[in-house]
Amino acid sequence: MNLIECRNLTREYHKADTVIRPLDGVDLDVERGEFLALMGPSGSGKTTLLNLIAGIDAPTAGTIVVDGVDITRLSRNRLAAWRSVHVGYVFQLYNLIPVLTAFENVELPLLLQKLSRRERRARTGNALEAVGIADRADHFPRQLSGGQEQRVAIARAIVTDPTIIVADEPTGDLDRPAADDIMNLLTRLNEESHRTILLVTHDPQTAGHADRVIRLDKGRFVSDRRPESVAEAPA
């Protein structure tokens, strides 16, 4: 069974008399452990699709089944609870909370779960370790570089051990070396920890890290291919 199954997914915005349709009836299956990159011109609907799968937006039509649950049928509060367990979101602009330290930022999603303080701290420590930023645990976001902030944000996304990690242009604000660092980190998380990752990017080199690349244009898929190098990797 596929981990994610989207059917006839449509998102419309109604403005006065006009209807804007950033996503126009797409079907998408994603397997567990897959590393999927979404590409396409600006405004093609990449973020829209990602947000729908992440459960922070609701489709106008269609269904999204993740791990057997149709998330389009969940109430607002249930959906929030679902996100806290199943989704790790990585943003282009990190979105760390400025008044919390790196450690506290990573710990934040764990406060939503029933864990002992001890276990919470251990898991937070492990996540910071995994992204190689444990030595900056006590720093506030303003004391970190962009690349380091994004590492903390990735630690925050993986700390709950979510079913899927979604990343919307996570390297969009970083220079090449920092971007490569982040992509290597995501690739490692995919290969070593078998995490399912959905990544939005404009950059072909960044997309090259993925198993599979889908191109969107005007809310529809225009291509769906697996780069040769990794073509036979997923079963």
Partner: protein, 390 residues
């Protein structure tokens, strides 16, 4: 519902010193203001409501002057006739509790060469007045003797006159009717109109006001008699043109006369408080609006709107509480006991438990309402839009 740590709310306070200061000042001022207004009304209420005294007094005054003792004129003989005609008045050691009195406002001066006229509430009494008005207690000196140009002053008479309290110490003088009068005693009658008055022997005041054969009123204390007995006496002596009115009823009707002032104070205070509230709303709205993206993030992580509103409210109420405590402390320090004069006399701003609670509740309300509305506004935005905010 899983909550956000209070720590987070607390740390958010440090984000902008200016806002923190504005919030503290806002709630502090609202508390101070409510304290002042409520304390003012409370003081006025206590003064005019005439707390239950040990005994019940009935005032006999001129028919047609029910609303003002100062305007009343009755014949000096009413006191004697009342004492003889009404059975069941209180007595002690052979003295019947019948107090003939003159109530009048007189211009006085601090001294002969003082050119500022001050209006004093004067009460001409006999010694029996101290029995009839059991709330009055001499706290310094002694009662004035007739014929020696002596007087005694109430606890907040100085406020009424606009003089420093020391200026009315025993041994000092006041000037009126072309001569100096020596203050020989001080009395206290807290929360009554008498506390703002100057008392002197009735004969001296009769001479000073040239009303030898008339009184303002006669106050009697009931023992076995009831109000009806005094009322019947007043109504049956048509020749004296008098009426009887319960002392408490009299002050209640005066309180009613001051109701418009009270309403004006409440409305003014409410308007200023609403201003404070809007200011608070504005600072909180600005503070939360700057955090819209963060609020979007918290929702993305799985925090419910309720949890986020609660946290933002905690932040705001905590600040408001700090400001409220500061405002309340200042109010207690600077407002409580301040005497205010009004046409009838004077009364003290009273900061007691109900007044304090009202004020603190006002301060907290500012914090609560100040947070709820802006927080709700920020949370109505779809998460995807909130995440795009900068």
């Amino acid at each position: 519902m899983r909550q956000l740590p209070f720590e987070y709310a607390y740390r958010n306070l440090g984000r902008s010193r200016v806002r923190l200061f504005a919030s503290l000042l806002g709630s502090g001022l609202v508390v101070l203001l409510v304290l002042a207004a409520a304390g003012f009304i409370r003081g006025m209420q206590l003064t005019l409501a005439q707390q239950d005294t040990l005994h019940e007094n009935v005032v006999i005054l001129g028919a047609g002057s029910e609303e003002s003792i100062e305007r009343s004129q009755i014949h000096a003989s009413v006191a004697g006739i009342a004492a003889a005609s009404i059975a069941g008045l209180r007595e002690a050691a052979g003295v019947t509790f019948v107090s003939p009195e003159i109530h009048t406002a007189l211009p006085v001066w601090a001294s002969a060469d003082d050119d500022q006229v001050r209006h004093a509430m004067m009460r001409g009494v006999r010694p029996v007045a101290l029995l009839v008005h059991s709330e009055v207690e001499i706290v310094d000196g002694r009662p004035p003797r007739a014929g020696f140009d002596e007087l005694m002053v109430g606890g907040i008479a100085s406020t009424r006159l606009g003089l420093a309290d020391e200026r009315l110490a025993v041994g000092r003088t006041l000037y009126f009717d072309n001569r100096d009068w020596t203050i020989v005693g001080r009395f206290s009658a807290p929360n009554t109109v008498m506390d703002a008055e100057i008392w002197l022997p009735i004969t001296d005041l009769q001479i000073a006001t040239r009303r030898e054969s008339s009184l303002s009123c006669v106050v009697v204390t009931l023992d076995t008699a009831t109000f009806a007995d005094v009322d019947i006496f007043a109504k049956s002596r048509l020749d004296l043109e008098i009426i009887a009115i319960g002392e408490r009823d009299y002050y209640r009707s005066i309180a009613a006369f001051y109701r418009p002032i009270r309403i004006m104070i409440i409305v003014t205070a409410a308007l200023i408080a609403i201003g404070g509230l809007l200011g608070g709303l504005n600072t909180m709205y600005a503070a939360f609006a700057a955090r819209v993206r963060e609020i979007g993030l918290l929702q993305t992580l799985g925090y419910t709107r309720g949890a986020i509103v609660l946290n933002l409210t905690e932040e705001s109420v905590f600040t408001a509480a700090c400001g409220a405590i500061a405002g309340a402390a200042m109010g207690l320090l600077f407002l409580d006991g301040i005497a205010i004069r009004f046409s009838m006399g004077a009364f003290a701003i009273t900061v007691d438990a109900p007044v304090m609670l009202t004020a603190l509740a006002g301060g907290l309300l500012v914090g609560f309402v100040g947070a709820i509305a802006p927080a709700a506004r920020c949370l109505r935005m779809p998460i995807t839009e909130a995440l795009k905010a900068h």
